[in-house]
Amino acid sequence: MSEMTSKVKVLFFASLKAKVGVNQVEINWTENARVAELRAQLAKQFPDASQVLQTCPVAVNRSFAFDQDPIPLGAEVAFFPRVSGG
């Protein structure tokens, strides 16, 4: 029987990855808590990057997400700087 996941996976990219020092973390999560709560939790966990974590673009399951959006359990969340491709 598979165990019910109670986490979300958070990925970091580019300068933010350098600032937090890891590619990804797993965070214990309450179903459908909001993006703003994850920002606050990560800012506490990574104080050196707290300013960026509070304001940078966020994606949930590979779509852009905003502070009031809920994050489902098992989601793939990404925090990253403003993009600069091309």
Partner: protein, 150 residues
Amino acid sequence: MQPVIEITYDAVDLNQILDRVTRKTTGAACIFTGMVRGQTRRNLPHETTYLEYEAYIPMAQGKMQQIADEIIVRWPEVECIVMVQRIGKLEAGVPSVVIACAAAHRDAGIFEAARYGIDRLKEIVPIWKKEVSPDGEYWVEGDYLPTKED
């Protein structure tokens, strides 16, 4: 129409891209390409040795597909779209990105579509570049913050 979307570590071959947007019915293609600039004169003049590109690949592919869909809605006569972003270490002078749009005729929106494609890619596709110069290195950051419409 199924666009070709590619994020690759390999060198970009512009002739091959032209082949891939060519159909029996296409008589015009607009190919935009961006290259790694070795010398910047605008704003803060500086030299660039190479750029290191990184992508959130699965989301970047999805967003490039979304841009192709947006192009087709705006310019329905565009028959074929190829979007390629090269990532990894790119020396000055080599192409880093290509947006190619083909249609039956040159007045079918191909110029505007390619322009729209590169502008949107720089807004919403999760790719970043680190600039390495003789003076050090820094991550380039765009100025666009995505909205709910993106």
